[in-house]
Symmetry: C2
Subunit: 351 residues, 2 copies
DNA sequence: TTCGCTTAGTTATACGTATTATTAAAGCAA
DNA sequence: TTGCTTTAATAATACGTATAACTAAGCGAA
């Protein structure tokens, strides 16, 4: 008797007895054709060189074996991952899930998946994201960077990975495939500040974060304040979190001198933290202190927060469309364009 | 003059003038060694067969060319994607971002990325997720399925892809690598119902969703109600969304007969929708009607919603740990285990 | 008959990496 | 000198797919 050690193929010893997924080779073997024939039938709707009979036989065998194309192999061969990366500070900030859905809404029908990379708004994590993207994990990127600037990002475009930045202002066209989508953050903040002034507020403070879109928003606020002959009053905390917002508000309330009558949070999450701190200090909103935010995250409506609406879903969808078009053969060419969407002031009960 | 058409290598014509990313071959060429030597130096800390001088030369050249390993190629060669998939109904439901962060917190240090797949709680999308996973896009999965049951999921484990389900109750150990993490949803809902009864409520309605964890929660509620001699009052809407919650509450308020004095939403998002509908009907909370939820999403605290706290971050982290351990060579073996975490009743102002 | 065309495929190669097997050269002992 | 060991590598192969290039058989037309 021959010692026919029928080893299960590809038994790397790594996966214990996991039956390998069938490949085109397996189908070819079972259908009595070559691997190339299988690939042709599986990928092309019309195959002049494969007669219908063979075609159906191959398809039946594939179906029978439960064949699924091997994604890594496809990626390698075609140099396309069919994946978009979404690089954002923090998925738990309610602004971003909406953005992601917008992205997915356009990406999925075009055959792209979406990978999330959280940077926590930290420079070293942003750098890691770039490194990670250079490994060819995604065909395109939608990203918010707080720290990296154009020179550091250019490497992506140079390697053929289009990038759409979520920006806070218009960017001039550049020679690379770096696009941006934005609402005019400075103007939006200016308009909100005008609203506060129109409501009779004179002492208006702004709670800022150290990095990110807060900067442009602060500019808009500062300009309008000075125009109106008022003194801008900035209070800065580190991050876009409720804790930061609450901390900033607390510091505001502990200051000597007259309390501001209105507080403008550079983001809704900051504003929510501020609201909480104000409430637990026994202040009523808007009676004792008015509060405004920025983003219009879903809860803003529930809490009656007056804020600036950013169309996050549309921003995501537009970003994805841009990527899809750039990746189409013969698609969009440089220069990178800056695309503006409209904001809206949502007047609610907190002001 | 020779017509030396120095074509840029790998010019597929697809990417317009994008300089190709350098490969190990390029490094080898530049360093005057073989590709194999490059691979060895780049991957092993100790290389007995490569002397220090050559080693540093290779590393320098790699650094100089800005080499980044090609992820797809690695995946193909090693049959590992270093990616976890997170299959959830909807990333905009604030319960999930926290889960994702928990996942990432454990996955990232272990070298795994996290890919998000939204199913919208629809059966066909769940089926697509399975198909998609069978293409070898992820090494492991953390998932919430509303529709698919064990038999449909078994294929994953059989192909060597471990799965951790986010469950609503204990699951018996099975022969496959399918684990679960859960809090005891029925008991949690029971406890919440007891709280409502203790506060003097007798007519307590529950707003349910058609599928998902709502079922087990309803069981806990129903059992306690009947035990207390009260009649369970279910009102069902389709999804876990504010719209569904608001719609259900509206239907409740339009009913003939006595209005319930308390409403238990099967999830916080449902409860929030119900709160809004109640408020716009002119009812005060909890004066006219008490409202409770389930999940303890971040806003619940801000809105004073009494709810059941699920440790979403910990659930995600635990799920990831389980996957990491199963994927370690010589790691966890079947059977799949069910792991319980503790819930907590968060008493706030809405009850 | 010979040429050319169609049919039905097949063979060969490449994508970039990891790893196993192999080897050429040098050094040293018997 | 022969044989053996060590050093420093290289060559070959495989992972699964897509595709360009090729071919063998059969048939009709010139």
């Amino acid at each position: 008797m021959a010692t026919s050690t029928t080893r299960t193929k590809r038994g790397k010893g790594r996966d214990k007895a996991a039956p390998a997924r069938p490949t085109q080779k397996d189908i070819a073997l079972a259908a009595g054709v070559s691997q190339a024939a299988v690939s042709l039938v599986l990928n092309k709707a019309e195959t002049p060189s494969v007669p219908p009979a063979t075609r159906t036989r191959i398809l039946e065998v594939a179906e029978g074996l439960g064949y699924r194309p091997n994604h890594p192999a496809r990626m390698l061969r075609s140099a396309r991952t069919m994946t978009f990366a979404c690089v954002i500070p923090d998925i738990t900030n309610p602004f971003y899930p909406g953005l992601v859905r917008g992205l997915q809404a356009v990406a999925a029908p075009a055959g792209y998946d979406v990978l999330i990379f959280d940077t926590d708004g930290r420079p070293e994590r942003e750098a890691r994201a770039i490194d990670w993207l250079l490994q060819g994990r995604a065909d395109g990127v939608v990203a918010t960077f707080f720290h990296l600037r154009a020179p550091q990002l250019a490497v992506l475009a140079r390697k053929g990975i289009p990038l759409v930045r979520l920006e806070s202002q218009h960017k001039p066209d550049g020679p690379l495939a770096i696009d941006s989508v934005y609402i005019d953050n400075a103007e939006a903040a200016a308009e909100m500040t005008r609203l506060l002034i129109a409501r009779g507020h004179r002492r208006i403070a702004m709670i800022q974060a150290e990095f990110g879109p807060s900067q442009r928003r602060a500019q808009g606020y500062g300009a309008v304040m000075r125009e109106a002959g008022l003194t801008p009053d900035f209070i800065t905390d580190s991050a876009y979190s409720e804790e930061s917002g609450a901390r900033a508000m607390k510091r505001l309330l502990e200051r000597k001198g007259e309390r501001p009558t209105a507080v403008f949070g550079a983001s809704d999450v900051l504003a929510l933290g501020a609201m909480e701190a104000a409430r637990s200090a026994g202040l009523s909103i808007p009676g004792d202190i008015a509060i405004a935010g920025f983003d219009d995250i879903p809860v803003a409506k529930l809490l009656g927060l007056t804020t600036v609406r950013q169309p996050e879903f549309d921003l995501g969808a537009l970003a994805a469309e841009t990527l899809v078009r750039r990746l189409q053969p013969g698609g969009l060419e440089p220069p990178g364009k800056s695309h503006e969407l409209k904001f809206e002031i949502m007047k609610r009960s907190s002001v």
